[in-house]
């Protein structure tokens, strides 16, 4: 048999995250991901780590992601970044975070990112970028910044995600203030001597936090959280199965430069004012797709039987016409069954539509279902 675990081995030497030694000490299996040597799983395994996150709390190291600060006179960073995204960043209140998209003129998505207004004066924004896209994003953003806005990359920081129903109780033991954070809130707070930037958000569908902190001292910080009875480490494998159950897009799989926010079902990221002004990159394409309907849409799929449908699997209609392709797919530990997301032509996108998946030459039935597969448990 051929054991294929890593899929994107890069030619360049791998970067090591600041917590590399901790992962190895915990027995992680390290794999190349977006140029980083990252823990895909710990000895417990993806299934156990996944379910632990849904039941208690899981700690992920996502330090491969890009952390960036934009700074300038009050409102200037938000105004500058707004030119590149469809979100209303000028309306983003201090203490709040927003999910948005860097877009191109063709209506495609250059990256999806989190933007946090963590500064009462409105002078600084904190951005979290996908690891695989951060270099391109930074170049793109820098090229479009006015002279009075500066971009700083935070290369010496760690990004931890503490996710799960027990996350608030755990982090609250160290910083009671975090319990008062709303969903998509951001707070600068000192925790165990570390100057942290904490957001109440994540990529699992669970309540939880992402914590940015200096690399120096981060291992002791992470070990402290791991010593809490509810917390177990989880790797990128569980992170991927959790986000798939939550119906969240993975850049490069479910969204890319050739998919629009309309096709991807991300119209909600377009701010009301932006939809009146149509002043964001790709606005003309988006407007046309909203008026006339997109040719294809992102949908959830539940395959019958047990065979997982992996990215690239063809989706066919009853008459064998090609309906689309799977972009993310695997096994749902919570449902004990395969789940997938993909794009299908609009006539096939309605919930309940019966389609087939071509897996190893066989036609396996699948049904279009609403997303997410597992309900979100965000706090409100």
């Amino acid at each position: 048999m051929t054991i294929v675990i890593a899929t994107d081995e890069p030619p360049a030497p791998l970067h090591h995250v600041p917590l590399d030694a901790l992962h190895r000490a915990l027995g992680a299996r390290m794999v190349p991901f977006a140029g980083f040597d990252m823990p895909v799983q710990y000895p417990a395994g993806i299934m156990t780590e996944h379910l632990h996150c849904r039941q208690k709390a899981a700690l992920f190291d996502v330090s491969h992601m890009g952390q960036v600060i934009l700074s300038g006179p009050p409102g200037a960073a938000a105004a500058a970044l707004e030119k590149l995204v469809p979100g209303e960043l000028l309306a983003l209140k201090p203490g709040r975070q927003r999910y948005t998209l860097l877009m191109n003129e063709a209506g495609g998505i250059l990256d999806d990112l989190m933007v946090a207004n963590f500064d009462q004066a409105g002078e600084r924004l904190f951005l979290v970028l996908n690891a695989s896209r951060k270099e391109a994003d930074i170049k793109h953003i820098k090229k479009n910044l006015p002279n009075n806005v500066a971009l700083e990359t935070l290369d010496d920081r760690v990004l931890l995600a503490l996710q799960g129903p027990a996350a608030v109780a755990v982090l609250g033991r160290y910083a009671p203030e975090v319990a008062a954070l709303p969903f998509m809130g951001v707070l600068s707070v000192e925790i165990s001597g570390a100057k942290c930037l904490v957001t109440r958000s994540g990529y699992t569908g669970e309540d939880g936090f992402e914590i940015s902190l200096p690399a120096a001292g981060a291992e002791a910080f992470a070990r402290q959280l791991l010593a809490e009875p509810e917390v177990a480490p989880a790797g990128l494998g569980a992170r991927d199965s959790l986000r798939l159950e939550a119906g969240l897009c993975l850049y490069g799989n479910d969204i890319d430069e050739l998919t629009s926010p309309v096709e991807a079902g991300l119209v909600w990221v377009i701010g009301k004012r932006r939809r009146m002004a149509w002043d964001f990159p790709g606005a003309a394409v988006v407007r046309d797709q909203l008026d006339n309907g997109p040719t294809r849409l992102r949908v959830g799929l539940r395959p019958e039987g047990r065979a997982p449908a992996r990215p690239g699997v063809s989706i066919v209609a009853e008459n064998d016409d090609l309906a689309g392709d799977v972009t993310s797919g695997g096994f749902s530990p919570s449902l004990g069954a395969p789940i997938a997301m993909g794009y299908v032509k609009r006539p096939f996108a309605a919930d309940g539509t019966l389609l087939s998946l071509l897996i190893r030459g066989k036609k396996l039935p699948a049904k279009v279902v609403p997303l997410p597969f597992v309900p979100h448990s965000f706090i409100h």
């Binding site: 048999m1 993806i46 190893r360």
Partner: protein
Amino acid sequence: MSDTRYTEDHEWVRLEGVIATVGITNHAQEALGDIVFVELPEIHRELVEKEACAVVESVKAASDIYAPLSGVVMEVNGAIVEEPALVNREAEGDGWFFKLELSDPADFAELMDEDAYAAFLETE
């Protein structure tokens, strides 16, 4: 056991008479992680050595299983289709995949013995 041999594709083969039982090694199941799906060959299918004939999928990835030797499929292990995690628990025992009637039982001796496989794992 001296009658168990191994392939470079991380399969084990146990010979009784002309019937070879085939599975994946403990090393392979560990590398794959939680196994969630197994597809086995049809009974009576004739396999040529190195032919892809079964599929095993973990949460993360799909992998092909190859015929370690040429022969005809005589029996498959339905238990691992019903409960794929059995392969994780009992890779080299109850988690076997299929039984082959070998075209030429003499080929069996050409596979790696336990020591050779252990040495092969060192080189991987």
